[in-house]
């Protein structure tokens, strides 16, 4: 049995799977998560309100939750919820967290020590800037879904869902179940490419069985609502005086440039935008983990070896930070990472590796939905790209011509309250350069007073 103390950062599918696997391998486990409830974005829920039809693989969630509860009862597991981890040190391994309601005074300052760290910090959903996207009634697809799942609330009564990737389907379904009319679902990727991505390897779709069933379910639910699902289309402008009143929709070419003459107006009171995901890398970057290379504006990921080890000794990674692959991949990667971090030797992990490898097919299909450069052509000079600091597209494009990275930072794009979490990728795409916005010395905002007076250590 392992005698290691495995620290898991994040309690979505990857983190929960890692925690359960490490407990099974005999390790002591501490899980830190910023949320009020376990489950991350994928299993976002509210005990009383959540409609079970909105959840997938819920039994797996319940099993994981119960296994961790049993670990706590045995004295082998510690769960820190509402834990804002603001700093990760790896030599020696220490996670610094503030525990408590984010806005309330008196959060506890905690330092967690351990032998191994599994990073399972997940991803933010990404929305590309669009003229009019700051109007009330526009949300990210993830925010719309979170409201529907956790609170049973919709963002409007007639909602346009637009962006790219299969995630748009569960979002549309959640909104429909929560009571909104989904007027259209617009997928920016073109049909031929899109269809090739999803149907060229039907045997792989069958292998990712859960996923195939899920998608079939979504398709049926869209049909039931008579919601058109259009590919090669996107929202290029959102209209309204005080809030969303309509959206201009256009056909997009392969590079996602709007095709002139195809614009039409769609009446709606809300728009949910989701153009894929941005992995939450800041903890991995602070830990010093090597990342993959990618052009500015495209996501980079944590490099992981066959057993989910990162380039840093004692640090593993699982889930969306190692590649956007959905919940099945996150579960399989978390399971493998948790076992490996607990000390299970490589030779004994062959079955876990095979389970993980089977989920790769879905991840590869997601590549068909990758953001294409032409999106910037729907921007107007005064479209806000960085909302925290009110920086317009033209200011960023102007600064991108100079030899000074400092000058691009002087536009303040990405330096506001969200620290580039919302706009960073778009700003870097427009600059044509990585600005290091995802290297955050403070992983979470904190009050200055919370730095004073020492901290409580948990071993």
């Amino acid at each position: 049995m392992s005698r290691r103390h495995v620290v898991v950062l994040g309690a979505g599918p990857a983190g929960l799977a890692a925690a359960v696997a490490a407990l099974e391998a005999g390790a002591r486990v501490t899980v830190l998560d910023e949320g009020e409830r376990l489950g991350g974005q994928y299993w976002r829920h509210h005990e009383a309100i959540t409609d079970r039809r909105l959840q997938h693989g819920w039994e797996r969630f319940e099993r994981s939750r119960d296994r961790i509860a049993a670990g706590i009862a045995e004295g082998r597991a510690v769960l820190l919820q509402r834990a804002a981890v603001w700093r990760v040190d790896v030599e020696p391994l220490r996670l610094h967290a503030l525990v408590g309601k984010p806005d309330a005074p008196g959060r506890r300052r905690v330092v967690v020590r351990g032998d191994a760290l599994v990073l399972a910090t997940g991803a933010h959903d990404r929305a590309l800037p669009i003229p009019g996207w700051t109007l009330p009634g526009v949300t990210t697809a993830g925010a719309a879904q979170a409201l529907a799942k956790r609170d049973g609330v919709t963002v409007g009564t007639r909602t346009l869902v637009a962006g790219a990737g299969p995630f748009l389907l569960p979002v549309a379904q959640s909104l429909a179940i929560a009571g909104a009319r989904v007027v259209e679902v617009l997928e920016a990727s073109r049909l031929p490419r899109h269809a090739a991505g999803w149907t060229a390897r039907p045997w792989e779709l069958a292998a990712a069985a859960g996923k195939g069933l899920e998608l079939a379910e979504y398709a049926r639910s869209l049909l039931g609502q008579r919601t058109p699902y259009r590919t090669g289309s996107g929202v290029v402008r959102i209209l309204g005086e005080r809030r969303v009143e309509a959206a201009v929709v256009a056909r997009l070419d392969r590079a996602w440039r709007p095709i002139p003459g195809t614009e039409r107006e769609v009446a709606c009171d809300s728009v949910a935008l989701g153009h894929g995901f941005t992995p939450r890398l800041d903890a991995a970057i602070q830990a010093g983990c090597a990342l993959t290379e990618a052009p500015p504006g495209s996501p980079r990921f944590v490099v992981a070896d066959p057993d989910q080890r990162t380039s840093v000794d004692g640090v593993w990674a699982a889930g969306e930070i190692t590649g956007i692959g959905g919940a099945d991949a996150a579960l399989a990667e978390g399971d493998l990472a948790g076992r490996s971090a607990a000390g299970t030797p490589h030779a004994a992990l062959a079955a876990a590796r095979r389970r993980r490898d089977r989920t790769d097919a879905f991840a590869r299909r997601l590549e068909a939905h990758a953001i294409q450069d032409g999106w910037s052509s729907w921007l107007e000079d005064d479209t806000l790209v960085c909302r925290c600091e009110s920086v317009e597209a033209a200011a960023i494009v102007r600064a991108s011509g100079s030899a000074s990275r400092a000058l691009r930072l002087a536009t303040r794009a990405g330096l506001g309250a969200c620290q580039g979490r919302t706009c960073g990728s778009s700003v870097e795409a427009l600059c044509g350069e990585r600005l290091g916005l995802d290297a955050r010395p403070l992983l979470a905002p904190m009050r200055i007073g919370e730095l004073l007076g020492g901290s409580e250590a948990t071993a």
Partner: protein
């Protein structure tokens, strides 16, 4: 005459402008771009308040007084040239140095010395101090007001200096300097990762990397990095009106102690954020965000402005300050490599000292007139050789 300026931080950019104005053909070389390092990782201080009147440091005080005046006219010129917005964001908001009860006597003595060399330094207490900074801790009893302290937005100012130089014919080359081109014992250009550049003179303005760069050019220069960390809050209603710092600052900059030192420097920026600095540590080029300085800076800042305890911290950043063993800037021709000129070692004062440094460089390289005394900053000075040996 062609001059290669190595390093496009504030010292290199200001030197390029001064040389171009005096008629030289300037090639500005940097491996990472304009204001890529120290000049974009600092507070943009244009201070006289931290300059002491002691004989050992008085030359720097005099340089700072002259440079402070130069910045004001330079900022106006750069604004006028740019035309479409502020070129430096110069804010002549003044500084207030404060003392907790036990520190009042040393501070007033320090200020008296400063007045004797022409620095405006007015002792303020009670109502006058609260009128300047109403949110200061009641613990603070006494302060000194320095009306001439100012700040610029350092990256913007550096960019504007470089742009002004380029409008006068200077050329920017993005490349790393790898070696000197020598002829008859004299430097006649540099080898770079983008090829060779011939020159009649080479000015080395590589900030904390000046020692390493000097070695590549066959010279010996003892310049080392000192890490400074700065905390940034979220934007808020303005409650800090000057550069406010405690009197320890002077000790931290001038100190030879390798260990972490901090003194609080608190100020608001035009963006509404509050910058809180600053630590000094000798840790080589380690830019990982360290915990101890962040905690120490936070504690001192809250002691100065109690309201800061409840403000949100958004990020921290670190920069490397170049310093020489005797803590004076190094400006002038290398004693062993004719044609090679140094301009570095400004520690935390490079932004403020840039215009005067550039004037001295134009004097050394081109023989331009200057009213400044170049002697205390020459690379061959005794205090540098003794300590470095």
């Amino acid at each position: 005459m062609r001059v290669v300026v190595v390093g496009a931080g504030v010292i290199g950019a200001a030197s390029a402008l001064a040389l171009a104005r005096a008629g030289a053909e300037v090639v500005l070389v940097d491996r990472a771009g304009i204001a890529a390092e120290t000049s974009s990782r600092c507070e943009g201080n244009v201070l006289v308040s931290d300059k002491g009147a002691d004989p050992a440091v008085r030359p720097e005080a005099e340089l700072a007084i002259a440079s402070n005046a130069m910045w004001r006219s330079l900022a106006l010129e750069l604004d006028a040239e740019r035309g479409d917005g502020p070129a430096t964001e110069l804010e002549a908001k003044g500084g207030v140095v404060v003392a907790f009860p036990q520190g009042a006597a040393p501070l007033t003595a320090f200020a008296e010395g400063q007045r004797s060399i022409g620095i405006r330094a007015e002792v303020v207490d009670g109502a006058a101090l609260r009128a300047l900074e109403p949110h200061l801790s009641p613990e603070v009893e006494l302060g000194v007001h320095y009306p001439d302290d100012a700040q610029v937005q350092p990256s913007l100012a550096t960019q504007s200096l470089a742009s002004a130089a380029m409008r006068r014919g200077a050329r920017l080359v993005l490349a790393e300097v790898t070696a000197a081109r020598m002829r008859g014992g004299r430097i006649v250009g540099v080898e770079t990762t983008s090829g060779a550049i011939d020159a009649d003179a080479v000015v080395l303005c590589a900030g904390p990397w000046s020692g390493e760069a000097a070695a590549r050019l066959g010279a010996r220069l003892d310049i080392r990095p000192r890490r400074g960390m700065i905390l940034v809050t979220t934007a808020m209603r303005q409650r800090v009106f000057h550069k406010v710092y405690d009197a320890d600052y002077v000790g931290a900059v001038g100190s030879a102690d390798a260990q972490l030192q901090t003194s609080t420097v608190v100020e608001s920026t035009p963006a509404g954020t509050v910058l809180i600095g600053s630590s000094r540590e000798r840790v080589g080029f380690d830019d990982r965000p360290a915990l101890a300085p962040i905690e120490a800076i936070a504690a001192k800042a809250v002691r100065l402005f109690p309201f800061l305890a409840e403000t949100q911290l958004l990020r921290t950043y670190a920069g490397f300050r170049p310093y020489a063993p005797d803590h004076l800037p190094v400006i002038g021709e290398d004693p062993a490599v004719p044609g090679l000129f140094h301009a570095s070692g400004h520690e935390g004062a490079g932004i403020g000292l840039a215009p005067a440094t550039a004037e001295l460089i134009a004097h050394h390289v081109l023989g331009s007139a200057t009213a400044l005394d170049p002697a205390p900053f020459l690379p061959g000075r005794a205090s540098l050789a003794e300590v470095a040996a």
